[in-house]
Symmetry: C2
Subunit: 215 residues, 2 copies
């Protein structure tokens, strides 16, 4: 699956036509979703409105509603699209690496690149801030996404223990928390102080982190 | 300085009266600011509007504008208030501890409590996400705040080196980045998965972090 660029460059988005055939209907839905994802990159998932999205894709509001029954359905679809793109960009390429520390390092390296690409706003991270204090379907979706990703990290850590690359008494949940912490700081500092300095700090921290679970 | 609670409990806010005396004018400004801060805790600094704030404090929009010349002035004042409260809650009580690791540990302990209190939204952290990818006075204020706090951490780290509590070759910027990373993860996990589990992970990570800069 091709990763969407979260920029103002929308040239890659195909022009809209009235969708009457089944294949075109799916393509139109995908196009709306890509516009919505790009809007959410800068304004957050909570900032999405059917009205401004419709104007952005050159459709009527009822045209958008024909593909997404409600604003919340659209928001959930954007979150899902974000998770699919994250997995396609960060996890899947890493699965080509051998199980254990090589794969764990590849996940982190791909995640670094993700943080660089989305240094001015990541849909999934913004959503965590937007919905952590609320109830409802969006909150539940964000918690499920974040818990799912943490479980993937723990799985990769467990394989590194099995391969003898990390200590047998490695606490997977603890190490996953610390990996996540460094990536949060990379995102944070990249946006505020520039990516290169942030990447240097995060890289140095990771080398110490891996060593501390190997000794 | 008393820390504001970022909750719906606004009973602590004094009732509004028309301010005609100089002291009352300052008090009215402070009351508006406290309401704005509470609104920003849930909706972000970017979500603030003069209209809804005016309704919230029971004033006219022009009454609010008499105290804050523009929406941006109000937003900047809210950011400044947030920073003052953070310093009063996290840094100042720690200054009673001896210089070095005891003071650094006190800063972190107070910051843990701050993360617990504002687990559903911290004005300063939300602002970092809101303004990192933009230009303008609010972006500049957020970068200055974040850089200032990182400098405070580095100062406390430097003192710990001087006192012989941390290794002489401790990289202050690097350790400050790693401290910040763990607090970001504490905020993040507290909001999504509950504070207690997040605090346990962060505490364990800090013990390992301090040790690794002492060996």
């Amino acid at each position: 699956m091709m990763l969407m660029k979260c920029t103002n460059d929308r040239a890659i988005l195909s022009s809209m036509t009235t969708a009457t055939q089944p294949g075109k209907r799916a393509a139109t839905r995908e196009t709306i979703l890509e516009h919505a994802y790009a809007l959410a990159c800068s304004g957050g998932v909570e900032g999405l409105s059917i009205g401004s999205l419709a104007a952005d894709v050159g459709m009527s509001k009822s045209g958008v509603f024909a593909h997404f029954g409600s604003r919340e359905d659209l928001q959930l679809a954007v979150l899902d699209a974000g998770a699919q793109r994250f997995v396609a960009g960060v996890l899947e390429p890493a699965l080509k690496q051998p199980r254990g520390l090589p794969r764990l390092r590849a996940i982190v390296a791909n995640w670094f690149d993700w943080a660089q690409r989305f240094r001015n706003g990541c849909v999934l991270l913004s959503a965590a801030s937007e919905y952590d204090g609320r109830d409802g379907a969006l909150h539940d979706a964000v918690v499920a996404q974040q818990a799912g990703w943490r479980a993937q990290l723990q799985k990769a850590i467990g394989q590194a223990v099995e391969q003898g690359h990390l200590r047998a008494d490695t606490d997977g949940a603890q190490l996953a928390f610390e990996i996540y912490a460094l990536l949060l700081a990379l995102h944070h500092d990249s946006g505020l102080f520039g990516h290169d300095a942030a990447r240097a700090h995060a890289s140095a921290a990771f080398e110490r982190l891996w060593r501390s679970w190997q000794i």
